[in-house]
């Protein structure tokens, strides 16, 4: 087991390095940040000084080596706009983003898995058609549109919730639900199709034949075996969630990392973009690693190669 864990961790290193290179190259392609950071009437000397200060006058490979060196020490550089360490800026907003993402994921799992199971069990029944219908609708409505609609109905017309920002639990309801609905649909959909595959298997017939109650057959024998692909999808949704966070935070003016990232991209704030993208990728890789390890624990057929 330890060997398996070690091997999986080693395998993530080239992925992380690739992401690092890509992030670095990407942000260096955006053009010269000097034009954005300084007023258009700045003198050429001031520009030179700015470039020197931020290391933009060095050869690109040198910038990369230096970036990696600092990065390993947790130093992502100083934000060009906020004049503060990039990592600190991101970390300050990570709490808000985590809060939003966890709330959304919890809502999605609590609704999505039972909905998918029921829908598969009573295939083509009224419940199934309803769940499938809502699922399809949930996947079809863009999150930003859903966000705007919920602001319109619940904040502007009914005045139940605030239109945006962060503070009380009430502020969390609309953005978290908006974000969750996108994943609810996916989780329900995958649960449904996995359950359909599983429920057609011989061992389900065997379980029924030996007289187990239907609920035991479905939830224990069925869901337990359908759970692994569902778990993968939940793991992969972390990536989706991070994309969703970017849009949802923008719509609801939620002071999280996603909104920070969009602002940083518009303002060509390289260090900040690098910090956000790299941290997001890191979280994604770690979560997937955990999912893989959970696999091995849940399914004895997966060997510790």
């Amino acid at each position: 087991m330890l060997q398996y864990i070690a091997k999986r961790i080693v395998l993530t290193i080239p992925v992380l390095f690739g992401i690092l290179v890509a992030t670095f190259m990407l942000t260096r392609l955006t053009g010269d940040p000097t034009d954005l950071a300084l007023p258009s009437n700045a003198t050429e000397e001031a520009r030179e000084e700015f470039r020197k200060l931020h290391g933009l006058d060095q050869p690109i490979w040198f910038q990369f080596v230096r970036f990696t060196y600092h990065m390993v020490q947790g130093d992502f550089g100083t934000s060009i706009r906020f004049h503060e360490p990039a990592l600190k800026l991101v970390m300050d907003r990570m709490g808000a983003t985590t809060e939003l993402a966890l709330a959304a994921m919890a809502i999605a799992i609590i609704i999505g898995i039972p909905a998918g199971v029921l829908s598969a069990y009573r295939r083509n029944s009224f419940t199934d058609l309803n769940v499938r219908g809502i699922t399809l609708l949930g996947q079809a409505v863009p999150s930003f549109y859903l966000g705007i609609l919920s602001i319109l109905f619940f904040a502007v017309w009914l005045r139940w919730f605030p239109t945006g920002g962060r503070g009380t639990w009430w502020h969390l309801v609309l953005p978290a639900t908006t974000l969750a609905l996108q994943i609810v649909a996916l989780i329900a959909r995958v649960t449904r199709s996995c359950m359909l595959d599983v429920l057609g298997q011989d061992y389900i017939r065997t379980a029924r034949a030996k007289g187990l109650s239907e609920s035991k057959v479905v939830w224990l024998h069925g869901l337990r075996n359908a759970f692994i692909p569902v778990l993968t999808v939940i793991g992969l949704q972390v990536g989706f969630l991070m994309g969703g966070v970017v849009v949802t935070e923008t719509v609801f003016s939620w002071p999280g990392v996603g909104r920070l990232a969009v602002q940083a991209i518009y303002q060509r704030d390289f260090p900040l973009v690098q910090a956000v993208v790299f941290l997001f990728a890191l979280i994604f890789v770690v979560v997937n690693l955990l999912v893989d390890l959970a696999y091995a624990a849940l399914d004895p057929r997966i060997g510790y190669r």
């Binding site: 992925v15 499938r132 989706f240 970017v246 993208v277």
Partner: protein
Amino acid sequence: MSVTPVNVDATSKRARNESPSAAVMGRLLSKKATIVSLVLLLAALFCAMFPTLVAPFDPYNQELVMRLKAPAFLDRGVAGHWLGTDHLGRDILSRIIYGARVTLLVSLLALVVSLVIGVVAGLVAGFLGGRTDAVILRLVDMQLAFPVILLVISIVAVLGPSLTNLIVIMGLSGWPRFARLVRGAVLSVRGLEYVEAARAIGAGKMRVMFRHILPNILSAIIVYSSFELARMILLEATLSYLGLGVQPPEPTWGGMISEGQKYITQAWWVSLFPGIAIATIILVFNMIGDELRDALDPQLSHE
């Protein structure tokens, strides 16, 4: 001498003399939802191809006295403007009809880009295996590790939101999913006898990959393409909403929602209707994908 099909049931009895593809069509058309989806799809395609025939107004024509007028079906509405007007007095229905063109064109071409790259990469990875497989898988993992929206936003912000850039970037964002799907499918058929047989009679690698393996995993690719197209439309809408899609005054559904958001308290229809258009077209492709899955996988649909 007649050949009796192995699985004789209601559908295959009817389809006995039909080709497999006709049988699939038969199963598809036996559901109302599918027919509705197909009709809606054809309508959207018609709007995209011949907007001048359908649209009641010029979508670019600004008429400031007519700004933010309510839809015709409301009491305070203005006759003629069925879905109302936006902040520049442009007819919303006409803009939605013209917007179909941009959305469908960008999404379809982006799908083709990711389909071609992804299928070739997946075939090569799955069939050749070994080091090639490892490298492609690593690339796939790497790209999937990026939150797609963030990736696309950053690249569009760098290169500028032209039509070609959008298509290429959106296309590049989708290839890893296809590669993964195809690779998995190839692995599951690679060891089968017909592949071995093809190799035994001396077929080259390319021939085995494209003539023998590809047709056998085609149904999975088709089903997936339908879902992926829905995803592309969503991505295009999101980019337009964030102001990184095709630029105004060209009407895009996401852009219309974003413009309307500023006036949401006084004129909700500006944002509402383009969103319905987006949701409907995505729903249509998801429905078609679902039905295709059931139709191409008769085992499941006859349970």
